[in-house]
Structure formats: C-alpha cells, structure tokens
C-alpha cells in the first residue's frame, strides 16, 4: 500500500485530504506542520508528500528544500496544496524541488488523479 504524508496546520483540511486518499486505498500519515513532518519521517518509506505552504515554523517551501536534501526522500514527489496562487510563490516552490501545485479547494477526483500520476 502506498503511503502518503499530508502536512497542514488545519486539522479539517488534513481530514479532508486523508478521507479522499484513504477512500482510494492509500495509507495516510498526518503532520500539523513542517517540524512535525520531519519528526514523523522516522526512516519510513513515503510515496508522496502533500503539503500546505503557510504553516507555523517551517513553511511548505522550506520543508520541500529539507526533504530534497534528505537521501531517502530526494526523489519522492512533493505536491504543494495551498491557497497561494501567485506566480512568484509557484516559482519558489518549483525551484525548491516541488513536483506540483494544487490550489485549494481541491476536487477529490482531481487530487486522486494527480496522486496517481505522480506516484510510481
């Protein structure tokens, strides 16, 4: 079973993401911010990171850079799920190593489509 980590400081948003992904058979690990995400890596295999950007502590773009610096997670897809839509932010995300960008709110089928596309 493919494992996905969802990182968002909003519990209700994490809940909606987890519900959508679990209904399609994915295992979901929730983290409430960037630091929590790093702590929960624990050497486990993850097939995708789905992260908000605007979070307390380490934001999503910084988290992306950190994950890309880790040997085990260097090539794992990272999709940023955010309310941000500005081109500059998007460029920052791409430069940090993100795989994709989803502007909230997401449609469940669209999210699953993206996940299916990026996960190998």
């Amino acid at each position: 079973m493919k494992r996905i980590m969802t990182i968002d400081d909003s519990p209700s948003m994490r809940q909606m993401v987890a519900m959508t992904l679990e209904s399609a058979g994915y295992e979901v690990v929730e983290a409430c911010d960037g630091n929590d995400a790093i702590a929960k890596l624990d050497g486990q295999e993850f097939h995708l990171f789905l992260s908000d950007i605007n979070m307390p502590g380490i934001d999503g773009i910084e988290l992306t850079r950190k994950l890309r610096s880790l040997e085990d997670y260097k090539f794992v897809p990272i999709v940023l799920l955010t309310t941000e839509s500005q081109p500059e932010k998007k460029t920052q995300g791409k430069a940090a190593g993100a795989t994709g960008w989803i502007v909230k709110p997401f449609q469940p089928n669209d999210l699953l489509n993206v996940v299916k596309r990026v996960i190998r």
């Binding site: 968002d8 909003s10 519990p11 209700s12 948003m13 809940q15 909606m16 519900m19 959508t20 209904s23 605007n54 890309r68 260097k74 090539f75 794992v76 897809p77 990272i78 999709v79 955010t82 309310t83 941000e84 839509s85 500005q86 932010k89 998007k90 995300g93 791409k94 190593g97 993100a98 795989t99 994709g100 960008w101 989803i102 502007v103 909230k104 709110p105 997401f106 449609q107 469940p108 089928n109 669209d110 489509n113 993206v114 299916k116 596309r117 990026v118 190998r120």
Partner: protein, 614 residues
C-alpha cells in the same frame, strides 16, 4: 459634515477599539468553526465508508447472481432443460419407430392368418377327394381295391396330422397376433399420452425456471438501482468534501482581514493622542473610507463562502438521505423475491420430475423385448412345422403317382387322382408361400431385439448423465440463493446505519447561525465606517483610492482576495481569473534528474485547471 464623522481623538480611539474588538470576535468565531467542521468531517467519513460497504454488498449480489467461474447458475439450469427436451425428443422418435415396426409385424401376421383359412379349405378338398377316391376304388377287384384303400387311409392319416398341426400353429399365431395387436395399441396410446405429459411437464418446467429467473432478475435490477444510488451518494460526498475545505480557507481570509484591521488601526494611531491636522484628517478619512470598503467586501465574500458551504453540505446530505431512503425501499423488495420459497422450490422440482416419465418408457422397452423373444420362438416352430408339412404333401404326391401308373383302365379313378394331385400341389404351394414370410419375420426379430437393448442402454446412460447435471444444478441454485439471502439481509442494517449517520450530520450543522450573527455585526460596523468616510469633507466621493490601501494586498495569498480588493476599489483586477481557486499544476520538466519526483508517463487523464506539474 456630520459630527459623527469628525475624527477627534476620542472618535478615533472609539473606532480603533471597535475594530480591535471585531478583530477578536472574528478570530474567536473562526476558531469556533474548527470543531464543528471536524465533527462534520468525521460524520462524512462514516457516511462514505458505509456507502462503500453498501456498494460492495451490491456488487457481491450481482456477482453471485451472474456467477463465476461456473457461469450463471440460471443459464446452466436452462441449458439443462434444453438437453432434457432433446433427449425426450429422441426417445419419442425411437418409441415411434418401435411402434411402427410392431405395426408391420401385426400386418404380416394378419396376412399369414388369412392364408390359414385358404390352406384349411384346401385340406378339406383333399379329404373330399380321398372319399371320392375310395368310391371309385370300390369298383375294383379286392387286391387292387385293398391296396388303394390302404393308400387312401395313409393319405387321410397324414392329412389329419397336418390339419391338427396347422390348426395348432395358426392358433398360436393367432394368439401372438392378438398380443402384438394389444401391445401395439397400448404403445400407441402410451406414445400419445407420454408425448403429451412430457410436453406439458417440460412446458411447466420452463415456466417454473423462467419464474425463478424473473425473480432473480428483479432482485438484480433492485440491486442495480441501489448501486446507482450508491454512486450518487459518492458524488454527494465529494461535493461535501469540497465545501468543508472552506473552514481552512475562510480562516486564512479572516486572518488576512484581521491583519488589515491592524493596518487600519496603525494608520489611525497618529490621531489617538492628539488632534489631527487638516491634511492628516483628510488622509485618515480617505483611508478609513477605502480600507473600510475593502474590508467590507472581503468580509462579505468570506461570509458568503461560509453560507455557500453550509448550503452545499446540507444539499449533499439531503441527496444522501434521499438515496438512502430509496434504497431502504428497494432492499425489502429484493429480499421478497429472493425468499419466495415457492418459486425457488418449483424451479428445483421442475428439473427432476421429467425423469419419472422417461423411466416408465424404459420399462415399456423391456416388455417389448420379452414379447419379441416369444415371437421368435413361435415363428421358429411354425417354420419347422410348415417345412415338415410340405415334405409330407410331397410323399402323398409320390403315392398318387404310383397309383396313377397302376390304374390305366379306370378313367374315373384316374381323374380323381389327377384332381387330388392338383389339390396337393395347391396346398404345397400355399405352405411354401407362408414359410418364407414367417422366416423373414423370425430373422428380423434379433435385429429388433438388439435395437431395443441398445435404445434402453443409451436412454439409461443419457438420463443418468442428465441426472448428475441436475444434481449439480440444484446445488448451484441452492448455493446462489443462500448467498443472495445473506447479502440482501446484510444490506438492511447498513442502510439503517447510513440513514442514522446522515440524520446526525444534518443535525450537527449549526455554524450558519453563528455566521449570521457575526456577519450582521461585522458588516454593520464596516458599513457604518464606509458610510461615514467614503466622501471627503465637502461630501464628494474620493476620485482615487488611497495609496496605502494597496498595502492591504500584502496580506493576501489568494487570487480571490485580490479580485475582491480591486473590485471594491472600482478597478479591474490584475488577476483575471478568480477561478484559480481549485487549480492544479504539475510542473512539466526535463527527466527525473532535474525534477525530482516528476511524473513518468504522459498517457494519463488531462489535469484540471488548478494543477501544474513542475
């Protein structure tokens, strides 16, 4: 200018206090939404899970009915019925053939029986001829007369023996003829009756199996309707998921509005402790009016988004409720048809009763076989006797020839003897004509017996094979029925749980009331500010937006916020497409070394507008 509009330090302090109080209220309100949305999310999760389980059960019902890997049990049962019809048809044809053969026997026997009368008449004439012979011989001298009497006596004895034997044989043949006739008549009667009962039986079997199949199809169609309902539920759940995301989105918007409030308060700070200069006064009023407009617009949009979310969630739950109620109505009907014992039992019974008819047909064949053996024996004896008879008539012919030679001078006697010889020839020819017919009948019997045995053997084998298949079919149908019953029974509590979960969720939605309360207060505050300060001291609307209002934009993260801001300032938004909310981008790039985690294949569905691949 109205007194209320004057920006005295007191007034500015009052405005700032009210703004900060509203800021706190908005934050409190925003935080309070979280638990309700989490609860709604949990209930939605439960609804989705129950719906998936129901879908699985419905799929199971369909797969049990259609059947795998053996194929549909009903199809198997119908095919079996077709096979039974074919075997019954073949049996019927074979039966008809045997009846036809026996009819042939009977016709031949009747023909032989008719020959008997003519033969006996011929013997009678020979007897008469013998008497005339005696009369003519009486005129002779003693020695030749006695010789002739002795010959006549010998001939009479032979004839008597022949007459007795012929009578006996023809009596046996007559009895046989009667038996064959009776058997043939009974076969004919049985053939017609059996054909009729078999046809009726098979027609009834067809009707029973069709009734069972119809019942299953009705159950299937209810399940299919249920399944469509489940799919509709899934769609409703997806809508609700989108709506519930607004808690996070509106929380951020409220944070940005709060930041905007802070900006306003900061801008007005200069006037809280001293009287403003004329320029400062104009500036603050201008700023208040424009910032107020922006904040008012942002608040309206945010509250509208929350009201809209409540509407969507309620609609989704109402749809789920409607589908669930429709399903609740259908499941009992589905059960009713499946549990219709009479239909099911008759369906099973129909597969076996036709065998009874065929078994009695096989016992008829055995009776026929016994009769053919008796026929064979009788014809064999008859043929031997007829051959002996012909030989004895030849002996009489020889005697009469000797006599003819010795009575040259007795024309009367010679004529009698000549006539006798003619009669003897006739009798001999008649006997010789009967013999081959009887022989042909006799020689045909072993073939018939062999055919009958073969027919019996094959019928038994075919019906035995069908019987095995029937037992297998019954097992399949029983199993299918039990599985269906179990599935349909298990669906009902799931439907009830689903209905309960929907009701709880519908009752849990309370936030629209909280939104209404806070929106009326917040909007009233900013409407007052806008109303008081949207014009200058002379009461003329400001021609251009205040320069600092633009700085409110640095708090925005969403395209929609920019659009609302620009529209409230009466300018065209630089962000053309407010509908970037929900867009997806997967960053298309060079191979994976340059873009970690980049997608491998390109044959997938097209991405939504809010998706970009890097």
């Amino acid at each position: 200018m109205p007194v209320a509009n004057k920006l005295t330090p007191e007034r500015i302090r009052e405005i700032c206090e009210r703004l900060l109080a509203e800021q706190d209220a908005l934050k409190t309100f925003s935080a309070s939404l979280e638990q309700e949305f989490l609860d709604l999310g949990s209930l939605l999760r439960k609804i989705a899970s129950l719906s998936r389980e129901l879908q699985q059960q419905s799929d199971d019902v369909r797969s049990v009915t259609v059947g795998a890997p053996l194929g549909c049990p009903m199809d198997f049962a119908f095919k079996l019925l077709d096979e039974a019809k074919e075997v019954a048809r073949i049996n019927h044809n074979q039966y008809t053939q045997v009846v036809s053969t026996f009819e042939g026997f009977r016709a031949e026997l009747a023909s032989i029986a008719r020959d008997r009368d003519a033969l006996l008449a011929a013997f009678a004439r020979i007897h008469l001829g013998n008497e005339r012979f005696r009369l003519e011989a009486a005129y002779l001298d003693a020695a030749p007369r006695n010789q002739l009497y002795a010959l006549a006596d010998a001939g009479t004895e032979i004839l008597k023996t022949l007459q007795t034997k012929v009578a006996l044989r023809f009596e046996e043949l007559g009895a046989l003829l009667w038996k064959v006739g009776a058997l043939s008549a009974r076969f004919n009667e049985n053939l017609a009756a059996r054909a009729k009962s078999t046809e009726e039986r098979l027609r009834s079997d067809q009707a029973d199996l069709t009734a069972l199949n119809d019942a299953l199809l009705r159950s299937q169609s209810f399940v299919s309707i249920n399944l469509r309902g489940r799919l509709n539920i899934a769609g409703s759940v997806r809508k609700a998921i989108v709506a519930l995301q607004c808690q996070d989105i509106t929380r951020q918007k409220i944070e940005h509005i709060s930041s905007g409030v802070q900006e306003i308060v900061s801008h007005l700070d200069v006037g809280t402790s001293r009287k403003l200069t004329k320029e400062e006064d104009a500036d603050c009023k201008h700023y208040l009016g424009d910032a107020g407009k922006v904040q008012l617009a942002q608040l309206r949009a945010t509250f509208e988004q929350l009201f809209d979310a409540a509407r969507q969630v309620k609609e989704s739950l109402a749809q789920v409720s409607a589908e669930t109620q429709a399903g609740e109505h259908l499941s009992p009907q589905s059960s009713k048809h499946l549990l219709e014992n009479q239909v099911f039992a008759r369906g099973l019974e129909s597969l076996t009763l036709v065998f009874g008819l065929m078994e009695s047909a096989i016992s008829d064949w055995q009776e026929v076989t016994a009769l053919t053996k008796a026929l064979q024996l009788t014809f064999t004896d008859c043929t031997s006797d007829l051959t002996a008879l012909a030989y004895q008539l030849g002996a009489i012919q020889g005697i009469s020839q000797t006599l003819t030679n010795s009575i040259q001078d007795r024309p009367g006697l010679r004529m009698v003897i000549k006539e006798q010889r003619t009669l003897l020839d006739d009798a001999t020819n008649r006997i010789l004509a009967i013999a081959p017919c009887a022989l042909a009948l006799v020689s045909g019997i072993p073939n018939l017996e062999e055919q009958l045995q073969e027919t019996i053997r094959r019928s038994r084998s075919e019906w035995a094979e069908l019987n095995l298949k029937v037992n297998a079919s019954k097992v399949q149908l029983e199993r299918m029925r039990e599985q269906l019953k179990a599935r349909v029974v298990s669906i009902r509590p799931l439907e009830q749980n689903l209905a309960n979960a929907v009701e709880v969720a519908e009752n849990r939605i309370r936030f629209p009331q909280a939104v209404a309360e806070i929106s009326s207060r917040s909007l009233a505050l900013f409407e007052k500010i806008v109303s008081d300060y949207q014009t200058d001291s002379e009461g003329v609307p400001q021609p251009q937006p205040h320069g600092k209002v633009r700085e409110l934009k640095r708090h925005y993260t969403m395209a929609g916020e920019h659009v609302v801001h620009d529209e409230s300032m009466g300018s065209e938004s630089a962000i053309q497409d407010k509908a970037t909310e929900g867009s997806i981008t997967l960053f298309e790039d060079e191979p994976e070394a340059a873009a970690p985690g980049a997608v491998a294949t390109a044959e997938e569905e097209p991405l939504a507008d809010n998706v970009e691949l890097f």
